[in-house]
């Protein structure tokens, strides 16, 4: 059965003299490696030079804020429901009067944790979120020696306050 049109019929005829003495093949091989000396390097100098991620790359999660710096998440639990790895857990709380500048809706996530050891970075949480609160960013997860560090709390996930960030720096 022919699966692709790239298959080649194997030549099983006995080797010719030039094939048997092997040296022409060696010369051919050497010429191939020689030609690679003049080719462009495929590598980049990593820490100084970084490759851009592909637009569909799914990296570490962030919890988004709105324009005024309020948390968008309302702890609806749809992300946790959508998560096939069951990595997300949360606890909801009610917004008190005077906290309107902190939370966008009446309900907010008092606790929001993602276990990065379970997470498979499928992006379903991002799709499920009705409030545009959880996003997968273009960062690679930092390494760690302890398992505790991989349970990301809310303070690890929330992106910085847009106004405080400017004044903070």
């Amino acid at each position: 059965m022919k699966l692709t049109n790239r298959s080649v019929q194997i030549d099983r005829s006995p080797m010719t003299f030039s094939e048997r003495i092997y040296l022409p093949s060696i010369a051919k091989g050497l010429s191939i490696t020689l030609s690679h000396i003049f080719k462009k390097k495929a590598t980049v100098n990593y820490p100084e030079q970084k490759r851009p991620f592909s637009p569909v790359f799914r990296g570490l999660h962030v919890l988004n804020r709105d324009e005024e710096g309020r948390e968008r998440c309302t702890a609806c639990g749809l992300c946790a429901l959508a998560c096939p790895a069951e990595a997300i857990t949360m606890e909801a709380a009610e917004r008190k009067p005077g906290e309107e500048h902190l939370y966008r809706e009446e309900k907010y996530a008092a606790k929001y944790e993602i276990n990065m050891l379970r997470c498979i970075f499928c992006g379903y949480c991002e799709e499920a979120c009705p409030k545009d609160a959880v996003y997968l960013s273009e960062t690679v997860m930092p390494v760690s020696y302890t398992r505790d560090h991989f349970i990301y709390k809310k303070e690890d996930l929330l992106i910085q306050h847009p106004k405080k960030q400017d004044s903070g720096k």
């Binding site: 091989g29 050497l30 191939i32 490696t33 020689l34 390097k41 590598t43």
Partner: protein, 357 residues
């Protein structure tokens, strides 16, 4: 009294020469490790070492330092004395062969004193190299055997049988060359290849013995345990090979000895077949410049050839896959030895009919 004075001067001169050659070959071997990685990188479209110093030039120093600081492990069940002797022997035999290579023409000082750039012009010449090279097998053999590890033992047996098999073809291909030169002394062989073109003939032995050179080159690859003949270090089959149980600088010695061997082999190849320190138009250059400068130019020419050979060794290593062991033995015994014998026969016929008549 005068005799004694001359002697001390000679001894001093030789000691300086030996020191320079030893340091030089160590330095070249060090930078050969760097060059190997760089060559491999360039051929595979990578960059290679570029962190330690400009272009990664301090990499060998960093590697050496790392090896010295590593924990030294001598396996419990190893034969301790032989285990330590192995890398020492490898290193010793690697450095010993440099003694008979003429690194440059004699430099005649203004007061008539002749400084020879060869440590010892012994009249067995190239035979000394063969003797020492075959001793080099002991380094690998002892290392593999004393490790008390079956993989190491297998690998050292491979190394030994490979070295012995290829030494035959190596010797026979060289006999053809010696029939032409009529001498074993390397100094004489180089002197016969004076210049490049003489009386309508190439003077370099490569042009008189191309087949002999090819056989010699292939056997050198095998003797050096270098790819595609690096079966003693076949890490995919034998874990690591004969130096599996070695750690820190003892392992470093084995690897280092290989690079020194490569340097010396390149020097011998250039000396025997590519005219050593001779280069085209050397007589005109000799007339034009100061004798000391001329000597240095000659040394430079030889080193250029040596570096060329080293690069070629690396070039081949990163191109060809490793042979299978039965293929290796078949090439050695059924191809190279008969070819070398035929080459010897042809050379004999040529000498009898062309040169004697």
């Amino acid at each position: 009294m005068l005799l004694l004075q001359v002697d001390t001067a000679l001894v001093l001169e030789k000691i300086i020469l030996i020191t320079v050659i030893l340091m030089g070959s160590l330095g070249i071997a060090m930078y050969a490790t760097w060059a190997e990685r760089k060559v491999a990188a360039v051929m595979q479209d990578r960059r290679g070492p570029n962190r330690a110093g400009p272009l990664g030039l301090l990499q060998p120093l960093a590697d050496g330092l790392k090896l010295f600081f590593k924990e030294e492990i001598i396996p419990d069940r190893s034969t301790r004395f032989l285990f330590i002797l192995g890398p020492c022997l490898a290193m010793l035999t690697a450095t010993m062969t440099s003694a008979i290579i003429p690194w440059g023409p004699d430099y005649v000082m203004d007061n008539g004193h002749v400084v020879s750039l060869q440590v010892a012009d012994i009249n067995i010449g190239i035979l000394f190299v063969f003797g020492v090279v075959s001793l080099g097998v002991y380094g690998v053999m002892l290392g593999g055997w004393a490790s008390n590890n079956k993989f190491s033992l297998l690998s050292s047996i491979r190394a030994a049988s490979q070295a012995i098999s290829y030494e035959l073809a190596l010797g026979i291909s060289l006999i053809a060359l010696l029939m032409l030169t009529g001498t074993l002394s390397l100094r004489e062989i180089v002197a016969q290849q004076h210049g490049f073109w003489d009386n309508g003939y190439f003077t370099w032995n490569f042009f008189k013995q191309p087949l002999g050179f090819l056989i010699f080159l292939i056997c050198t690859f095998a003797e050096l345990n270098r790819a595609p003949f690096d079966l003693p270090e076949a890490e995919s089959e034998l874990n690591m090979g004969y130096h599996q149980e070695y750690s820190s600088m003892k392992l470093g010695f084995y690897l280092f000895a290989e690079y020194i061997n490569m340097f010396i082999s390149s020097a011998i190849l250039s000396t025997l077949f590519f005219g050593g320190y001779n280069f085209p138009f050397m007589d005109q250059v000799a007339a034009a410049v100061h004798p000391l400068l001329f000597t240095l130019i000659c040394v430079g020419v030889l080193l250029t050839k040596v570096v060329g050979f080293i690069l070629f060794f690396m070039f081949v290593r990163w191109t060809l896959p490793r042979f299978r062991y039965d293929q290796l033995m078949r090439i050695g015994w059924t191809s190279l030895i008969p070819l070398a014998l035929a080459n010897m026969l042809l050379t004999g016929i040529a000498i009898l009919w062309i040169f004697k008549s």
